[in-house]
Symmetry: C2
Subunit: 141 residues, 2 copies
């Protein structure tokens, strides 16, 4: 690790108001170095290469800590359990990051057209799923 990376990590911990531990630092560096959307298990495997005694629970605890402190984010905000979409009309979601509530909003109202089209790279876009993350009226207080 370079000196600037170490300083960066220290200020991350300071902002979050948590201790600078070796495990936390290695988990942080590991996440920084990984690409894509790793699962806790994948992160755990990598961290274990540097700290064989680390536990999966510690990886979970620190991932949550980083997410709460906005150091990293989650790919999906509602991954806890399967949820069925009962609203048949095209719409998107207003997701409150504080109270986790999900409200529907009309596609038109958000001003995002969702037509089928081919994107660069050849991906055929058919449907769009938009989550607007922010604060609901109650949580803005």
């Amino acid at each position: 690790m370079t000196k600037s990376e170490a300083n960066e990590f220290r200020s991350v911990c300071e902002r979050a108001g948590v201790a600078v531990t070796h495990q936390r630092q290695v988990i942080y560096e590991t996440l920084r170095a990984m690409h894509g959307h790793p699962s806790p298990e994948e992160i755990y495997e990598r961290v274990k290469a540097r700290i064989p005694s680390v536990s999966l629970a510690t990886v979970y605890k620190n991932i949550h800590l980083f997410i709460e402190s906005s150091v990293f984010s989650e790919v999906s905000l509602h991954h806890g359990s399967l949820r069925v979409e009962t609203n048949a009309k095209p719409h998107y979601h207003l997701v409150c990051t504080s109270c986790k509530s999900i409200t529907d909003i009309d596609a038109a109202e958000l001003g995002f057209a969702s037509k089928e089209r081919k994107l660069r790279g050849g991906f055929l876009a058919q449907r769009y799923s938009v989550d607007v993350l922010g604060l609901c009226v109650n949580c803005q207080k």
Copy 2:
């Protein structure tokens, strides 16, 4: 249930190539009547009010059947396990509905500006999470 609802359900089963069973019908009607984004457990509770002997496993099996047949959809496509976003730049996801792969795409390239703003209803939009659902190059074959 009205006659047209019954017919609607029959054609749903026909398209999906599955049998018309009492449990399946009640689960379908229950979903139609529910608002928001119910969990399997919530759906199960409602169905149990009409069929006390129904099992949670049957509810799960039928929810999946409906989702596979595009009769209903999932709120989130990657809810199986926690995934950490390691890409710090603003970007969105190309999600292939066939092979479930997730690729990043620059926010700019999709032409969707993500600035903080207040929406009707008072929701403070801070960040956008856009999933583009479709078929990747390989799965279009």
